[in-house]
Amino acid sequence: MKKLTLLLATFTFAFGTAQAKDWKEIRFGIEGAYPPFSQTEADGTVTGFDIDIANALCEELNAKCTLIKQDWDGMIPALLARKFDGIIATMDITEDRLKKVDFTNKYQHIPARFAAKKGAAFEATNAFMKGKKIGVQRATSMDKYVSDNFPSAEIKRYGTFDEAYLDLKAGRVHYIIADSASISSGLLAKAGGDKFDFVGPKLTDPKWFGHGAGIATRKRDKDLTEQLNKAIAAIRANGTYKKIQDKYFTFDIYGEE
């Protein structure tokens, strides 16, 4: 048994160091259901801000980019199970997630907001939310935020934000909460979206929303995290980032340096 453990340890070590030297290929987990960051086109390809950033980072690192579509629910488990090496999916850097995975520095920071039918009353208090139905994507930082702050609300958890938007339009939920940029392009800019609007303030409390969205990596792959950090800084400096940002947004989505 001891021998076996030793063998295993040697093997892991050898494997680990072999991988640490160079990242010729980086596999990123992407979601494909969160426009404008990540959306699945009619022909099945995935496009969006996250995707362009992933490709730009790989180019910067001279690595081959492999993008793997994964449901949001299973993102972190799939990363830990080595289905891919990093997650680029507008994932907020939160304390809870840092217990399981590492993050690079942020590559964007967009506040979360509530949206509802135009003219709907809104108060961010547990008393007001009593019995109100709030739609949110399961396992997001917004899910945690509403679960912690509005326990008396009826929280409806969806697999994707697109489903939550559908149910807001159908009138099955009173409010939804998501990244403001996602609400803009996934709900307000779509057909029938003119009946809806943001309600309440921009939400940025780091306790729930962390300090922006980063790329999640396994804790053992410190070298990859470091390389990605350098690459983020590089594309910020050389104008690639701005070019990609302007393709999707009319405002700055990085926030303070």
């Binding site: 488990p77 399981k100 399961r138 958890r157 697999g159 559908l166 099955r172």
Partner: protein, 224 residues
Amino acid sequence: MDFSIIINEYQFYLEGLWTTTWLVAASLLLGLIIAIPAGILRTNNNWLIKGPIWAYMYFFRGSPLLVQLFLIYYGVAQFDAIKESWLWYYFQEAWFCALLAFTLNTGAYTAEIVRGAIKNMPKGELEAAKAYGMTRLQTLRRIILPGSLRRALPAYSNEIIFMIHGSAIAGVVTIVDITGAARVVNARYYAPFEAYLAAGILYMCLTFSVIYLFKLWEKRQHHI
């Protein structure tokens, strides 16, 4: 491996177990109410009677339950006429949509079981009923239904088990059933193995309870 999270979040699983149980039980009961007349009418020779029943069974047995649930939950919400009518009061609830989809689905499958059992009636029993001078209704009530339903029992217990397992898709329309509970727990702890294993065990308990009850029932039938 950390199973303390299951113990910490047991109330999610209890809630899920309860939701799965009542949702499946209610849809099975309502499905049976549809299935027995549908199965009987399906054996009728008049196409005006058996035609619509055939179409209903063909659709619900021919397409996946998940698609049926999506059609009812997301599809119906697309029609303003329904959204403005009293029907919306029910269709806006996820549990109602799931109950409706499950009921219609199990109703179609069970009707097929009933039809098969009636088709396979021993000819002799029917001839004997005729010889006694029973009317068609009397034959149905006294001979066909008791005999065929008893023969349908093993097939029906399979349908119940399929329904328990099939109900796992209720979670996709925000219902917290057993699978829904596992998803929430997985989302909180990123521990899919523990979360889904606990769900699997709960489904197994439900399934084996059903099998056990049917064994008892079938045994009793044989004693009569």
